[in-house]
Symmetry: C2
Subunit: 366 residues, 2 copies
Amino acid sequence: MVEGKQLIMLPGPTNVPDRVINAMTRPIINHRGPEFRELYDNLLEKLKYAFQTENDVFVLTSSGTGAVECAIGNIVSPGDKIAVPVNGVFSQRLKEKIEVFGGVPIEIPIEWGKAASPEQIAGAVAEQEVKAIAVVYNETSTGATMRGLDEVGKIAAEHDLLFIVDAISILGGDELPVDRWNIDICITGSQKCLACPPGLSMISVSDRAWEVIERTKSRTYYFNLLKIREFHERKETPFTPALPLWFALDEALSMLMEEGLEARIKRHERCARAFYGAIKELGLELFADERWLSNTVIAVKNPQGIADKDIRAIMREKYGVVIAGGMGKLKGAMFRIGNMGVVSEREVAATMSALRGALSELGYFK
Amino acid sequence: MVEGKQLIMLPGPTNVPDRVINAMTRPIINHRGPEFRELYDNLLEKLKYAFQTENDVFVLTSSGTGAVECAIGNIVSPGDKIAVPVNGVFSQRLKEKIEVFGGVPIEIPIEWGKAASPEQIAGAVAEQEVKAIAVVYNETSTGATMRGLDEVGKIAAEHDLLFIVDAISILGGDELPVDRWNIDICITGSQKCLACPPGLSMISVSDRAWEVIERTKSRTYYFNLLKIREFHERKETPFTPALPLWFALDEALSMLMEEGLEARIKRHERCARAFYGAIKELGLELFADERWLSNTVIAVKNPQGIADKDIRAIMREKYGVVIAGGMGKLKGAMFRIGNMGVVSEREVAATMSALRGALSELGYFK
């Protein structure tokens, strides 16, 4: 590859606009002083727009996994049952987190590449007395997006259950009206569709969720939501925030507002369609079922006799385009393209052109 | 204050050198690719130098509090007793963390402004069967540094206990030979004496600590050390790392190596002496007892009739110098100057000059 910036087409982290990168060079400020409190207010207002919520929203210094730990560690008491569809690496992780905190996951097993239907969730909830429904909206490991979350929100409300949504790899890239869909706790990460560097995660908390949190003994100190809320009152975080990343997120959210959330979602949809079209044209097979194809993660099965490792190496070394392999049991079986954040026809074209070049070199077109 | 960068004399975050700030603008890389693995190796080698250890060291995306949660959450089983001297806000937090994870803190209560002696710890350990001794080396809330950690390390070894040291606000600013002092788990943060922005924490783990961790059910998922070690084998982190902060930390550690650890510690000592001398000259009273005065946090009692709030406001607004107030029950009783990272005679002089100006304006010299 010639000297220069790589095109990062991973399912996170993503390419980050210069405006956002440069925001990190702002001078360090006192995280207990007036400069931070102003930033705090502005940033959280923008975040509410991104989440489409009037609920409380918070920023945590952690990867998205930390925010999921925050959600689970603050609402699960030992023995609590939580319904959780498992259809990939990240929903598997969600299930494991419930166990770490003493909860009992009521697993709804789903074939990888597909996603749970509202009916399947309704069935599980009818059979067992659960405290919450926890779902991964977009399974980053398989490229399958759950549909009908609005229906699941209604089921949760009817049964007076909490509805927890891990939207890490999708918020900003597909529909997600948190309040309208009755989502009590919604989680995302900085390094996905918001096109900010990694290191921050965000979480929204509804009044119904607060009621549960208030009567649950938190099983985490760093992610204790009551403590976070206490400091929120004075527009501070309980522990030192990752200031440069706050500056970056603030700028990334400004860019989201300038573009408009709807326009950003449409842009992701448009680029996803372009990716799927071009991939089918090449005769490649998608991993996820047609019904649940993700806007943000394009998962493609390895062509017969060609290893994704080799495809990815050529794309990276020769074309400077970085894509991901499979995760967990899917390692060595697929490659994944992130369609997140800074994506347009240009990034789609550059990625597909590198992919074609690599496939050609590996004898795919012979 | 005239337009320009503030002088951040907080007990963290600190001023950050331009070299370190600019490192954050490096392009995003794949955290599962060769570029990251190279960074990972280099960074951890430098970190071992900073810790003076051959033990494993890891970088976490969290504030220092997260790394303490990591230590406690991986070694405490319900009912385990941990000896912990409490002499300020941060040692109080350490005690609370032990409780959150089901442990039983055996508190050694110490007057705030003083620190525990090795004899007091030996006494507590002789009375009770404890699993570990956990101490805060430098109590950021009071400006008191514990002395005799080498002796405590010997006590821990004799009784076959783990020795856990929270060195968040001191590593790099005072003596801390982790291996020589027999420290099993040592913790620090990026935004203190290493002069890196906030958002990362670092933890070292000894072989003896691993033995305990291996037979303990981790009570945290995000900070699970066995999982962290598993990914460490392939030079990766289990969850997406805060890449720009890794770039910054790498650069900050290069600067530490260029200066030399010993020289950096001596510089902190020299500046601390200058601060203490100048403060006594003004007739101000220190909060910490003479015997335990910290190199890195200078805690000063409010002069009669003058509020630290007013001192700090004038220093910030008129002179652009930012210092901290008291924490917890010490709020409104003192101000604290951070003597960390980028400190030299120049920063001491600028801070003291701003302090004199503020005191003068508030009638202190009348």
